[in-house]
């Protein structure tokens, strides 16, 4: 463990916390451009979070401690995940604590708590949102695990820094398995981050909500933390995708201060491109009926399994 390892660990978490709302703002802006609307300001998400932090929180009288604790647990889980995902460097002291499977577990922990909190108050919409979220989650999770297993099969390790190290140092060639896994991962990320084919993040109609329906009872700092956490979730998923499928520019090795300095602008550029691609997908597709979600995520699972099988058969 060198000083630069701790520095890159610290820089990575700080960068995730700082850039996550910007990524959401950037995606919203791209979506507005593509739809020919005037775009909201890029920094709107920061302002919303600041405004929410300054307000007084209102909590329902029958809320249990779970309801108050959930924002902190969800936010904490997302920060931990940001510390594990090798977005800037692969030499991360904290990443030794958890591998790819534990990362999926962290996301599941956040999901379970947010669903519990939504049901805690006892409103109809909260329960509805929680049930839909768990429904989407249980279909998305196996597909995500399969994608991560494909990557681990290639590198022989489930530890994310090791996977990225292996993938970044392979010869430049066509890898059908990684292409399939990449498509599957994109589909899973769309579903997990409540983006358009499954859920509409901009909807105001409670009946069609999934993620938003669970947050209806939250206000002020609780809501701010959850909004920030969902921005972090999008950031984390983007970073996992970039680390697995475009692992170029991630600093490797232990004591290269310059590599870390270079990896920051590279990451920002990759995220900008990824955010634009996300906006493009969202603009080009229509929201699916909730009962078509199993088909969508079943296809993602299928692609991920095929990626693994093709890797086993063709050897690359």
């Amino acid at each position: 463990m060198t000083a630069s390892a701790f520095l890159s660990q610290f820089a990575q978490v700080a960068l995730a916390l700082a850039l996550a709302p910007l990524l959401v703002g950037w995606v919203n802006q791209c979506r507005a451009w593509l739809a020919n609307r005037s775009a909201p300001p890029l920094l709107l998400t920061y302002r919303t979070i600041r405004k929410l932090f300054m307000k007084d929180a209102v909590v329902a009288s029958n809320a249990s401690p779970i309801f108050r604790l959930t924002p902190y647990i969800v936010f904490g889980a997302m920060v931990c995940a940001a510390a594990i995902v090798p977005s800037l460097a692969t030499d991360l002291p904290f990443a030794l604590a958890a591998d790819a499977i534990a990362l999926v577990g962290l996301f599941a922990l956040a999901r379970v708590f947010i669903a519990l909190a939504a049901m805690d108050i006892g409103t109809a919409f909260g329960t509805l949102g929680a049930r839909r979220e768990m429904f989407v989650g249980f279909l998305a999770e196996p597909a995500l695990l399969m994608v991560l297993f494909t990557a681990s099969l290639i590198s022989g390790s489930t530890s994310l820094p090791a996977i990225v190290d292996t993938l970044a140092h392979r010869e430049l060639a066509i890898y059908p398995s990684l292409a399939l896994a990449g498509v599957a991962f994109t589909m899973v990320s769309l579903a997990e981050n409540a983006r358009i084919p499954i859920d509409n993040p901009a909807t105001h109609l409670e009946l069609t909500m999934i993620h938003e329906a669970m947050l209806l009872e939250y206000s002020a700092r609780h809501l701010a933390l959850i909004e920030w956490a969902s921005a972090l979730k999008l950031f984390n998923y983007s970073c996992i995708g970039l680390a697995l499928f475009f692992p170029f520019g991630v600093a490797q090795g232990s004591d290269e201060w310059t590599a870390i300095a270079i990896s920051v602008p590279v990451l920002v550029a990759k995220l900008a491109a990824g955010g634009f691609a996300l906006a493009l997908i969202e603009t080009a597709s229509a929201k699916l009926r909730i009962f078509r979600a199993p088909e969508f995520l079943g296809t993602a699972f299928l692609l991920a399994v095929l990626a693994m099988l093709v890797k086993l058969l063709l050897g690359n």
């Binding site: 010869e171 060639a173 066509i174 059908p176 398995s177 292409a179 399939l180 199993p294 088909e295 079943g298 296809t299 299928l302 692609l303 399994v305 095929l306 099988l309 093709v310 086993l312 058969l313 063709l314 050897g315 690359n316």
Partner: protein
């Protein structure tokens, strides 16, 4: 690291497998024909790459034949048939899509397992794609089993022929030209005869649902 053309063949093999699954899950007949044409295109491209990579020049002919027959002629005939029969319905299936997909995955695992020892015997660069070819054949079988109407079943039959052709290319660099020409003619004539059959079936039962053919009965007076 395999040479570049082998990587390309692997890529096309993966695309073929993906298209088989897409055909399995497709709801509309017209999109099914488009997917069939795409599969033919991938097959022709992969055959051409095999020809280029291994110097087997007779494979250029079969690539051209595949392109002409399976990308242009057969989809055109099928399109015409559908227009003449005036059917644009959604495909009816016996099992729902996710279950079909899961069965498909089981079939893929089965055929990959089956193909690995066989492909050890072959000496071609493309031998590892034999498993994918077998999986394509299996998936086409599954498609023919799960579809109820006549046209999707015929498309399943044609896509099975695609799989067999790919298997021949990957195991032995293709069949002799005479055999290939014979099969191409067979498929063409088969589709033409089945086209006549469609009209007969519709005449008889007022629908193309093949479950009417299941019960054998005497002609009533």
């Amino acid at each position: 690291m395999p040479p570049f053309y082998a990587q390309l063949i692997n890529l096309f093999a993966a695309i073929l497998l993906l298209l088989s699954f897409a055909m399995l899950s497709q709801r509309r007949v017209l999109s099914l024909i488009d997917l069939f044409a795409a599969q033919g295109l991938a097959l022709a491209a992969s055959t051409a790459v095999v020809a280029w990579g291994t110097g087997q020049h007779h494979l250029y002919w079969s690539a051209g034949l595949t392109f002409g027959l399976k990308v242009l002629l057969l989809p055109w005939i099928l399109y015409r048939l559908i227009r003449r029969l005036n059917v644009n319905w959604d495909v009816e299936r016996l099992i729902n899509v996710p279950t079909t997909m899961l069965i498909g995955i089981v079939l893929v695992v089965f055929s990959f397992n089956l193909a690995v020892p066989i492909s050890q015997l072959a000496s071609t660069v493309t031998r590892s794609t034999l498993g994918i070819a077998m999986a394509c054949v299996m998936l086409s079988f599954l498609m023919m089993i799960t579809r109820r109407k006549a046209i999707p079943q015929v498309i399943g039959f044609l896509s099975m022929e695609n799989g067999l052709f790919f298997a021949a290319t990957s195991a032995t660099y293709g069949m002799p030209m005479v055999v290939e020409l014979g099969i191409a003619l067979d498929v063409l004539v088969g589709v033409l005869i089945l086209g006549v059959f469609f009209f007969q079936i519709r005449e008889q039962f007022d629908s193309l649902d093949l479950k009417h053919l299941e019960s054998l009965r005497e002609v009533e007076e």
